[in-house]
Symmetry: C2
Subunit: 158 residues, 2 copies
């Protein structure tokens, strides 16, 4: 963490972001990489720069970069005459990630509906509560999806 991130304040911010993202389910290294790419100027770094800045091993960073690319959280750009990959945050595709989460919700809702079907008509009140929950998430998913698509439309016309 010498050259790329120059101030103590920035290093601390990388850690804060790292902790926040760990809580959302990322591994420590992956979380620090995203933090770094949010703070770094320019906001694109090579593998070796990330290795230096995070003090993690090349393989850890390499694997984390691969994972983050698969999640579409980051992508890389290149420059003519320079073989290195410059990794940066995906500023276009993060919406897709949210959409994937909504789809996860949908699939759980389907399992839940199946489960209610399996239940007898005893405990009707409980069954109804489960159905209510399904209704809520059904509408919720719709709302979220239409909000996302509207946002995308606005973005395109900009």
């Amino acid at each position: 963490m010498i050259a790329i991130i120059d101030s103590t304040e920035k290093r601390r911010q990388v850690e804060r972001i790292g902790v926040a993202l760990e809580k959302l389910g990322l591994t420590p290294v992956a979380a620090r990489i995203l933090g770094l790419l949010l703070v770094a100027e320019p906001p694109y770094l090579t593998l070796d720069e990330i290795v230096e800045a995070t003090q993690a091993s090349k393989s850890s960073v390499g694997n984390a970069l691969k994972f983050l690319q698969s999640e579409e959280s980051i992508e890389y750009i290149t420059f003519p005459g320079d073989r290195k990959r410059y990794f940066q945050l995906s500023t276009d595709t993060w919406l897709e990630g949210l959409q994937q989460r909504v789809e996860q919700l949908t699939s759980f809702r389907e399992i839940l509906l199946e489960t209610v079907d399996m239940r007898s008509d005893q405990h009707a009140k409980f069954n109804q509560s489960l159905l209510d929950m399904c209704d809520f998430y059904g509408e919720f998913e719709e709302k979220v999806e239409s909000f996302i698509s509207e946002w995308k439309k606005d973005r395109q016309t900009k």
Copy 2:
């Protein structure tokens, strides 16, 4: 898994729900308990019944129950003249859990805004993308919260 859950089909459903909930971040035991409480009839079970049905240790189940209560995913009821606690899914408070997740989003958005403030005005396009993302989530949170409170209102008048 002998007395409480009587059929192979139900046992399989508990596992399916368990796997789905593990993916959403629960531990295996906690996920199986929720699955069990979705499938079981009646939908309230004692600690010992859950121990028997899940084949996990009493302490694992006890700790998982404690955790699920803290998350407001489950609660317990009692019956007069019966000291045992009957654990069941919270059919009222699961919305609070969703709200807590939204709050997590808010706190990450705050960190993100701070981070943009720390950045220079070079790479303005990148900075703008981060701000756009903040805007999106800001509106998103509002939308979700108003949807939740409307839903609650409807529920009360029912």
